[in-house]
Symmetry: C2
């Protein structure tokens, strides 16, 4: 295919006319498709239906510690849930606190705790003139919403397939004690699907932050969310790397079963050093009498151990894989060689990251919307919703049935073409 | 019975010797009993076992709005849960936000929100030199823990069987704009079991606070937790009273199903004016993608409506009533007329409030503990754990089986007698 930028004005104009006709056809179809959020499909949710009544009215509802899970108590999780989530998070059970139904809520609470009471007894962030976070970009919009909500200044750090640019990260955290944290999705990153290299993880563990209360917010949301059984990305376990590097307290690891069982009805957990966990427990014991232990038990009795979870994840992969492949195939067929967009080809996670020509992302998303296909808002993958190049679009293939997904992707590539032509024509 | 204070030194000394012998017998029994917390008994929890598998692998898990409750979404609760909790809280469904598994967590989050972001756009409490709360005493220790945690100064307000002393409340909130809230358990209060009179509720609704962001934290934890089917206390509904009085935004009402179904696995809710709810939703939408909708559905499908809940509460009452009656009977038989203690006789709730002679509560609780019976810590019913008279003890009859409860209460009255005698002898 001849790149659009190498085509003549007349060629582009004629192509534009053809594409506009096709776009009009799409508009007339009255589509209502959604590729905006990383939601599992109904078919994926069906995989966990056996969990619904794994506890029934005859079940012994005592946990291993002999405590009746139907009653108050157990502030930080029943032992067997700590063990299961520990296996998921790759840390020993004693490094785990089990929380409620979503890890987003845990991240919010962790930032809120630091804001109101400080990290491990240090100055509460609300008493500081300035608090900053590093934000690898593009990244996860809900992370950025939390730090924005607390008035924390966000600094963009470019991502590469190896992870965040560690030269920048090292330099900034070493020299600026207002930098208190960094948001990371280290495996199958949102939205690129990148997995941090061993070198990146080791450099994280060896950071020398100016701020003693600097923490890495390590949202390992997609640790077991592979697409291919024979191509599973692996990352180094950060908590033990931090210990080895003499920085045991520098990381909070977050995880949940949201995209393993039921989003909104999962079990979330945090993993950190004993000192950090004790600090969080001081907060937790005022905040709650305990989280939902029956749901913890439900998960443990259903999966038994990490192998049960891994088997479940293979079933998820079997549903997700054809969807990713369908999107990637259309992108390649329709846009390959045109030099108007590039995209990632992840081995897991929930997203494909698409980069359009500079200044085109908003127009593409708006045009898709006008024909009935909702994408994640352009800019959402950047702090404050501001993509400096207006180029990144997150594609979420998981939720729509595959025939709808194919239709939505075909419309999407059409919009990419049309907006790109308009951009090029303007410049001519 | 002759009051202890009217007995001679010799009479008391001889009685003391007898009681000490009895106490020694108790010690030798090696008891391990717990009357400390308001936990339902195993028998009560059995009442809700039918809820465990009311949702099974064949159940349609869409809510009335057509949304799949297994997936992300629905920030403030499914419609049918709002309706059910609305019936419980006695407000229309549109005045409800459904939260997670416990109302304590909701109260914490509400205070935290006010602390970090302010109430309805007003100055965040963390930016103020001084924030104060009124605390009717004796009261609920976990309320006081929340305000203490946020450095909020707590001011004691005396309770009567009609509710808090409203002369004091009215005067303080009118004159001091640092007073931002008051903790209330308006029905079957913790620990007295008092129910606020209509007059008290109306005076609450008509408060003229100096602080525009003053809120009544109305923890209606025991609204349907009656002990007697023919003696159900009733309170005026505060949200509508506030509306009538031109103070629609002055109250947050909290409730949950914790002591209706499973503590820790219940459904919590807040009720407030539209302006307050919108303010809280702004917080909520950053904090979470949504609470556990499957557990909401589980509750609705199990109870269907408020009548289902009320029937369940009658079964709870049948278990609780004999326990309260056993404790009250022993208190009356053993302590009646001795003038060394007084106690409340509630129609509902989870507690009996006992007032010993001044300066005796700590010693009584310690003595009971030394013989193997754990009571709520003396002082716990006051802010900062400081009972100025060292006289109040909260009795929680719900958790132990009735034979254990009787034994524990017999030990308790023995300790009351012994400590009182020691006190009187000291003064002679």
């Amino acid at each position: 295919m001849k790149a659009y930028k190498d085509r003549s004005y007349e060629e582009l104009l004629s192509l534009k006319t053809q594409l506009e006709a096709k776009y009009k056809e799409f508009q007339e179809m009255g589509l209502k498709l959604d590729m905006s959020r990383g939601k599992p499909s109904a078919e994926q949710l069906d995989l966990s239906m056996g969990m619904m009544d794994v506890l029934d009215c005859f079940t012994d509802l005592k946990c291993e510690a002999g405590i009746d899970c139907r009653n108050y108590g157990v502030i930080d999780g029943v032992p067997e849930a700590k063990r299961l989530l520990g296996e998921l998070i790759e840390v020993p059970a004693e490094h785990i606190i089990i929380y409620g139904n979503s890890s987003l809520n845990v991240m919010f609470d962790t930032v809120s705790h630091a804001y109101t009471h400080g990290v491990m007894g240090m100055t509460p962030w609300c008493r500081l003139d300035k608090v900053k976070f590093l934000c690898p970009v593009p990244g996860y919009d809900r992370h950025f919403s939390i730090t924005e909500y607390f008035g924390i200044e966000m600094i963009n750090v470019p991502m590469s397939p190896e992870g965040p640019d560690m030269d920048i990260v090292e330099n900034l955290v070493r020299t600026d004690d207002a930098i208190k944290g960094i948001w990371c999705v280290p495996k199958y990153s949102n939205p690129q699907g990148y997995t941090y290299s061993d070198e990146t993880v080791r450099r994280f563990a060896r950071l020398k932050p100016a701020a003693k209360d600097f923490r890495i917010f390590w949202d390992n949301a997609y640790n077991v969310h592979h697409l291919y059984n024979d191509q599973k990305d692996v990352i180094l376990e950060l908590l033990s790397e931090c210990e080895k590097a003499g920085n045991p307290d520098m990381v909070y690891k977050f995880s949940s079963t949201s995209k393993i069982t039921f989003p909104g009805s999962g079990v979330a957990a945090i993993s950190a050093s004993e000192a950090n966990l004790n600090d969080l427990r001081n907060h937790l014991k005022v905040q709650t009498i305990g989280h939902d232990k029956l749901n913890q038990l439900r998960h443990v009795r259903y999966f038994k151990n990490i192998h049960g979870m891994e088997k479940q994840m293979e079933k998820h992969a079997a549903i997700m894989r054809p969807k990713f492949e369908a999107v990637l195939q259309i992108l390649e067929e329709e846009l390959g060689g045109l030099s108007i967009g590039s995209w990632t080809k992840p081995h897991g996670g929930y997203f494909i990251s698409f980069d359009a020509m500079d200044g085109c992302a908003k127009a593409i998303v708006a045009m898709a919307k006008d024909a009935g296909v909702v994408m994640t808002g352009a800019g959402a993958t950047y702090p404050y919703g501001k993509d400096p190049h207006d180029s990144n679009i997150r594609i979420a293939p998981s939720f729509p049935p595959i025939d709808e997904l194919i239709q939505a992707t075909r419309l999407f590539v059409l919009c990419v073409k049309l907006v790109s032509i308009n951009k090029l024509l303007q410049k001519m």
